[in-house]
Assembly symmetry: C2
Homo-oligomer: 122 residues x 2
């Protein structure tokens, strides 16, 4: 069995986090996100992604900017301040889960050390 399972509605809210995460670092658009997710084992179709974009925008977490690129209209999204804040809250919760599920008590320290210095250790 492939490990890109996606067992039905499995990837649900991880999807939201992925979107917000990328949208807080750079401007993203639909097809790009779909490909990016594919690299990470998430099979997401347009009919799944676009409605999410719309909802996140409606909620004020994303803001859109239509732009013409190479003869194609792209709708770029970036996270708003509110969206970034929401993302941080959710990230904290994921961290809790990971800490517990992987029994990594000092995970916070690892994260904190990353934040202090910009190095990515690769």
């Amino acid at each position: 069995m492939p490990d890109t399972v996606v067992a039905k509605q499995g990837s649900a809210d991880f999807l939201e986090l992925h979107i917000l995460h990328h949208a807080s670092e750079e401007q993203i658009y639909g097809l790009w996100m779909i490909e990016e997710l594919a690299h990470h084992g998430y099979r997401v179709g347009p009919s799944h992604l676009y409605p999410k974009f719309h909802r996140l925008e409606r909620q004020g977490y994303l803001e859109r900017e239509d732009r013409l690129v190479e003869g194609k209209v792209r709708k770029y999204y970036r996270a708003t301040a509110e969206g970034a804040h929401y993302l941080e809250t959710r990230k904290r919760m994921v961290l809790e889960l990971v800490k517990e599920a992987f029994s990594i008590a000092e995970l916070e320290q690892v994260v904190a050390s990353k934040k202090r210095k910009g190095r990515s250790a690769r």
Copy 2:
């Protein structure tokens, strides 16, 4: 704003992972799980949890054992081998997300070192 947001359907699949995680370590039952989740900031009601239990059981990821405890009937669940396997797959995906969202390239090493030795570094 409290940081137990739970912004609508937010906790969705994290819930599944939490359930599977605990059910793979010990036998769990509904109310206990509800309280456990509350400790971690997830507000989950019975009408959310029980259907999930039922579905996970139907999918073969959990198995049930009714037991009488202190005059009360409890339905204990534990993860099946298949459920444990599914959990591992999902955990790997969460790890990917965390690694990326927190820019922790060496996260795998941290996890691996935890697995080798049982120490919890606290």
